[in-house]
């Protein structure tokens, strides 16, 4: 009896589309909604979270043989919070303007369900390279959604994308400010999720 082993490539790709952590599994919603008021902030947030996700996946899979199963969660949290502290201080030092915008959401990366979820579901029982690919795939999926949300919200609320003007002057004089406020974020992710469900229903 042969069991087909999932390919290396699939570790990378499932996190991007098929099991996109935020849009399909609906975890890690807080930063997705809170830090996507502009495309640039969204990219900054996803870069910080990706740094933590990839490195914690790698380190956890490196030391997984030494972790007692009963105390694995506290150990995961210590490893994750180490990387969160590193990125917290690095952003404060080198990107102070971004740090001010992201605010409390940088230290809150430590409770991002995606990171602990991947540690528990994947890194704890897979090899180092596979865990790296899994972390990278999930990071890309997370980044993709955040940048899409940030771009759409910035487009409607300010008429720009990544700070570049893309709408005529008459639109920018009275833009849809609604989108930059919290209700706009809830509304947009509702529409995106409905689109995903629609695509799934159409496929059968």
């Amino acid at each position: 009896m042969t069991r087909t082993k999932p390919s290396r490539l699939s570790y990378l790709t499932t996190g991007i589309i098929k099991e996109n952590p935020t849009l399909i599994l609906m975890i890690g919603l807080c930063p997705t909604l809170a830090t996507t008021t502009s495309a640039r902030d969204a990219l900054g947030m996803s870069a910080a979270a990706s740094f933590v996700l990839i490195l914690s996946n790698v380190v956890i899979s490196l030391v997984r043989k030494f972790i007692q199963p009963s105390i694995r969660i506290p150990i995961f949290i210590i490893i994750i919070s180490t990387f969160v502290t590193i990125i917290d201080y690095a952003l404060q030092a080198y990107q102070p303007s971004l740090y001010r915008v992201l605010g409390v959401f940088v230290p809150l990366i430590v409770v991002n369900c995606i990171i602990l979820g991947r540690a528990e579901a994947f890194a704890y029982n897979h090899g180092v390279f596979d865990s790296f690919l899994d972390g990278l795939g999930n990071s890309l999926g997370f980044t993709l959604l955040l940048v899409v949300m940030g771009s759409v919200r910035e487009f409607f609320a300010a008429g720009t994308i990544f700070g570049k003007v893309v709408t005529p002057a008459w639109y920018r004089s009275a833009p849809m400010l609604f989108m930059i406020f919290p209700p706009g974020a809830f509304f947009l992710i509702g529409i995106l999720k409905a689109l995903v469900i629609k695509l799934k229903l159409d496929k059968g």
């Binding site: 609906m26 919603l29 502290t85 409390v104 430590v110 369900c113 509702g190 999720k193 229903l201």
Partner: protein, 194 residues
């Protein structure tokens, strides 16, 4: 900053769920029924208060004097994880019904960002112990208010004719958007910004 303003700020103006977008996983996960929402709210209020006290004392008595500020993230999350473990054991022993109702969300309260956010914000805003307590109470109350309002709406959504692609999460998001729009009306109430 007066205590009333801190409370109203945390409770309404900057509602932790609807304005700050913190702790959304539990917001959407638990709010499918009124019972679980009430149970989760009670747990969050309780753990938030405990965590706010313990972390405030640790920060001002231990981490700050010893110059260990960089350990904040690790220490606070571990304290909360320990507290949650304790609450879980307590519920399992004495409140069996509530324990089974919350299912997988009780361990997830560790990763409930609301609690950790309160402990961080208490430090960032430089609150004293009384202010920190009131702030924690406001956040817990605001969390309960939002999740219970939302649960009432979702229970009705279950039976309403919604287009197939909007069923479940999407219509819940749109509903949350509308409640959030109502809460936007509290912005700058009494000039509160915290």
């Amino acid at each position: 900053m007066s205590l009333t303003k801190i409370f109203i700020g945390a409770f309404l103006v900057n509602n932790i769920l609807l304005m700050r977008f913190i702790a959304l996983c539990s917001f959407f996960g638990v709010s499918t029924s009124m019972d679980t929402s009430v149970g989760m709210s009670a747990a969050v209020v309780f753990v938030t208060m405990l965590a706010a006290w313990v972390c405030w004392v640790l920060w001002h008595a231990l981490l700050l004097p010893l110059g260990l500020g960089f350990l904040r993230t690790a220490v606070f999350i571990l304290v909360i994880a320990g507290l949650v473990q304790f609450v879980e054991m307590f519920l399992r022993k004495y409140m069996r019904g509530l324990y089974s109702a919350m299912g997988i969300y009780l361990p997830l309260i560790t990763t409930n960002c609301a609690i950790l956010a309160v402990t961080f914000l208490n430090v960032d805003y430089g609150f004293n112990l009384l202010q920190a307590t009131i702030y924690a109470l406001g956040v817990g109350g605001g969390y309960s208010l939002a999740i219970i309002l939302f649960a009432a709406i979702r229970e009705r959504l279950e039976d309403s004719p919604v287009s197939p692609s909007f069923r479940g999460y999407p219509i819940a998001f749109v509903g949350a958007s509308l409640i959030s729009l109502a809460f936007l009306g509290f912005a700058n109430l009494f000039g509160i910004t915290i």
